[in-house]
């Protein structure tokens, strides 16, 4: 009886968790291969047909970056007023104002800024990518590009990867600056005894050059992960129009998991800098 139950439990484990792990590994391998091919295309063909492809990069920066600026500014202002301002106020009240810079850099620059920006870009541009590319694939446009001798990765994927990487970096920078600014504004309104020069002086002291390097690397990689995962789901498999919505949901979940895993890697990296 016990043996039978044990066997049954093992079977259920194998068929659920085991399959899930195997599917996860397969997916990681496929997306990884897609990413490697995309990197190869980006390196070898960046300047090929630049008058066709470079405007597509600018278009992606416009769509994923510039058009998202207002929303990022709004979120940054809210973040600054609600969280940063209160933190500054609290730290000052308990006499720990010398840690303001460290806390802000750790929370906003290293963690919240990049991740929040990545999630916003994923919601706005990543989902649009899957829908656009999935529809293009379903409508046979990829085949058309091939018939014209145009590499679909070069024409469709490379501009999105570069565009999203640049966009997440720029938006995260804006988000950080606006958050810090609004944070001080809230503290000022609450009569926290700290001048603007002291506040930004502390922030400046808490930032090291490694922070800027890792910030740029992290945000760029977040953008690239969102682009690669969304393009992979849009393009890598034959799709019917009715499949596109389901694929979009999967892409969002996987891009979030990818960004969080990368974030964990960076947390470890920060321990060594």
């Amino acid at each position: 009886m016990v043996v039978a139950a044990s066997k049954s439990a093992w079977r259920i484990y194998r068929e659920t968790t085991g399959n899930w792990i195997i599917r996860g590994i397969d997916l990681l391998r496929e997306v990884g291969a897609f990413a490697v091919i995309t990197i190869g295309v980006t390196v070898t063909k960046f300047n090929l047909a630049s008058r066709v492809v470079h405007p597509l990069i600018y278009q992606q920066v416009w769509r994923a970056g510039v058009r998202l600026f207002a929303m990022v500014a709004f979120i940054a202002a809210a973040l600054g007023l609600v969280i940063v301002g209160q933190t500054v106020s609290l730290l000052t009240r308990v006499g720990a104002q010398e840690y303001i810079g460290t806390v802000m850099v750790t929370v906003v620059m290293r963690e919240l800024g990049p991740l929040l920006t990545a999630l916003l870009v994923l919601a706005r541009a990543g989902t649009a990518n899957v829908v656009e590319l999935g529809t293009a694939r379903a409508m046979g446009e990829v085949e058309v590009l091939e018939s014209l001798g145009i590499d679909s990765l070069h024409y469709l994927v490379m501009p999105r990867v570069i565009g999203l990487a640049v966009s997440v970096f720029c938006l995260a920078t804006y988000l950080m600056v606006i958050t810090f600014g609004c944070g001080w504004l809230f503290a000022f309104v609450q009569d926290v005894p700290m001048t603007l020069a002291d506040y930004f002086g502390q922030l400046g002291q808490a930032m090291r050059w490694q922070d800027f390097l890792l910030f740029a690397l992290k945000t760029g990689l977040f953008g690239s992960i969102i682009a690669v995962v969304s393009c992979y789901h849009g393009l890598a498999r034959p799709l019917k129009v009715e499949d596109v919505s389901g694929v979009t949901t999967r892409a969002v979940v996987e891009a979030v998991i990818g960004c969080v895993l990368l974030d964990a890697v960076f947390i470890v990296a920060y321990l060594f800098v």
């Binding site: 058309v144 018939s147 001798g149 034959p238």
Partner: protein
Amino acid sequence: METEWIIELEEVDVTHPEGVETTLAQGVQWRIARGDFWVVGGPPGAGKSSLLATAAGLARPRSGVLRIFGCNAAEATEADQIQWRRRIGFVFEEGGRLFPQLTVAENVALALQYHTALTEEEIAAQVEQWLERVGLSAHANLPPTRLNEVWQQRVSLARALIMPKEVLFVDNPPVGRTRDGTWWRKQLRELAADGMTVVVGSNDFSLWLDTAKQFALVQDERFNILGGPDQVRAGTGAAWREYIMVD
């Protein structure tokens, strides 16, 4: 003079280009020589479009050997593929699959912009010339979705031919004794007269009898070469009559 085979299929099994595991045609033996004018017919869904895409190198055959300009497709490098794709034009069915985010002129110009170093003025002149030829220069700046499918397929012809091509595949051009059907037959006849190798997928052989040189039929997972117009006229059988509509 020795025949120059530019596309050869040996024992090729054709599947859907998007990888659906159903075999549409088995054991296809087909050789296309320079200057040929083929019409491939068959009932809807028999696999004409997939066969044309496979022969044009846009889809991998499930098995067998496909040679394009003497190059085995299974062993072709990316450079080989780009090289043959620049020599083969393909006009897709159902509106030619134009890019909806580009205008008509931008659709036609895309290959030139991508592959050549011509100036924008030179490209615009060529686009204008091709749109003139397909009778749509007045619609150059419209999105393709504003045109009907028949006109979209004309744009697709201009897009396929704006760079010099040696072979042209046309999948299901408008047929019938309409103005559009006549226009397409005239265009393809002129292209063939200029030395272009033409392969047309069509449900109606009767309209091509005075134009095409060779006819083939895809039916029941089989690819059968019927021969020239005379053999098609002499053909018999219910399926033949039903699907091919020979007068």
